[in-house]
Point group: C2
Chain length 301, copies 2
């Protein structure tokens, strides 16, 4: 199968899992005079998630699963769970008290469309549904527990939330490359690492394969952020689907600010190569991960 | 053991589990010039949780566990997890875009002390740590999975978040008793039900005991809310530890508005009796649950 066909097929599995999570699990309960708030919340959750996202994290979970021979439907559900957690972080990140962004993937953000109170609940409930999707997996319990642990570590204080907290306090501060990398390892790297790890847990591989996959995930997580910083200065809003130049305007530290545009591009290429090298022990089965790495580093949006 | 001694001992186990969750699991990582945001986040999480709360939900989990002979340390950890989820909901609820409350348990709310952005992250990360505490339980995996499922159902769209969404849209609307009860069954009832259920899952009781405990939990969850509405009109800020009269001022539907003060008091007493009746099949082992029911319905703050 061509990579482009694999992308279409894999995304379609993830979208199906997400649609089921947000409809089957969340029936519209209201009718009659006036609309009940939980019906609005359900709609707003679907608005936040089913918006044509690239599903990078879910694709990484599926490809990591393929690399270790995991059950494909478990990986798709795990991928959907991670996308819910990712979407939750975007909804809260866009709120006025955080980045105050009005545009996301070319559409008005959730708080613009549904109000801040609903946006707050949308994020909260999307995190929950992420854990629910994992807990409801039809897999051996010990593996489900490992999956929940991995996702929780990646999402909380020692992962995404911790990284966002560092980011908040870093505005206007000088940050060296080590600090910047350590912030991004938490803020975006932890969930990308967990996506790869969770796909792999579905297949329960030997330790050396897990170690190789984790090394790959760390490199690609960082490369992904460097590419993001490059896009923030080089793309326009139409291509990007969100407001460009925000980081520079907000006086946030970026890899482009630290290394220059060419330096950042070289750095991304080096990390890409290191990620590919990490996959060597897995052989041909890891080829989709290699394809994804290329797509992430060379993406234009 | 006297009930008052049991309360002190049980709360002390929960506080210990919470302190461990917020220190051991979340080391302060920053030092040197300037304070890193994740260190501030950790402190703010502790501020939100270790604030002298009554730990009603954790006590219900522990007492339900005792009623079915569960491992006491599992129940304490499960209780701590539920308290983290409860605290997360309070932090987000107090934010300006929700109830905009400046006072909680007699102290400035999290967003007043740490700012809105950190408060948002505090709630997010407390939800996560709740799931992490359950996933890290040293119990059989199948039981851990059931616990995660129960907590996720109670927290998300078909539980607490859904109830809060109904509440948001209900402001200024007429609501009959059925609608009001259905809203509270989601908003506060679901987590109280889950607390009892999770304590019971730790002991894996036969179905008829689980059914009895669930009936008890539904009655006491509703009685708890009726008592809350009574306190909102009859207590002062010093006794309550939060701003009283907010619901009436916000034109929110309450049981007192629907039934009158005396009617609401009668209703709470009837629910209390129904809760005690539900415990009959469990015999003497359920006496702590009976004690807790009395405390919750008769509480003055």
């Amino acid at each position: 199968m061509e990579f482009s066909q694999w992308l279409v097929a894999s995304r379609s599995c993830v979208e199906a899992a997400l649609r089921e999570a947000l409809s089957e699990r969340c029936p519209i309960v209201s009718s009659g005079a006036g609309r009940r708030g939980d019906s609005i919340l359900r709609e707003a959750m679907a608005y936040a998630v089913l918006n044509g996202g690239k599903r990078v994290r879910a694709l990484l979970a599926i490809a990591a699963g393929e690399a270790v021979g995991a059950n494909a439907s478990w990986c798709a559900q795990v991928g959907a769970a991670i996308e819910c957690v990712h979407a939750f972080s975007l909804v809260h990140d866009d709120m006025p008290c955080m980045d105050d962004d009005a545009l996301r993937r070319g559409q008005p953000t959730v708080h613009v469309t549904y109000g801040e109170a609903q946006a707050l609940l949308v994020g909260d409930a999307l995190q929950t549904i992420g854990f629910e999707l994992v807990a409801d997996l039809d897999a051996p319990s010990d593996r489900v527990v490992r999956l929940v642990r991995s996702m929780a570590r990646a999402t909380g204080l020692k992962g995404m939330a911790g990284g966002q907290a560092v980011d908040i306090e870093a505005v206007g501060q000088t940050m060296g490359q080590t600090d910047l990398e350590s912030m991004h390892a938490l803020k975006t790297g932890a969930l990308i690492l967990s996506a790869v790890e969770m796909g792999a847990i579905c297949g329960d591989p030997p330790a050396f394969e897990m170690t190789a996959l984790e090394r790959f995930a760390r490199c690609i997580g960082l490369a992904f952020q460097v590419a993001d910083d490059i896009l923030d200065v080089s793309a326009d809003a139409a291509t990007l689907g969100k407001t460009p130049g925000k980081d520079a305007a907000a006086n946030k530290p970026t890899f482009v600010a630290l290394l220059g545009l060419t330096g950042a591009q070289d750095y991304a290429r080096g990390l890409h190569q290191e990620a590919l090298d990490a996959l060597t022990p897995l052989g041909e089965r890891a080829s989709r991960l290699g394809d994804l790495a290329r797509m992430l580093v060379q993406r234009s949006h």
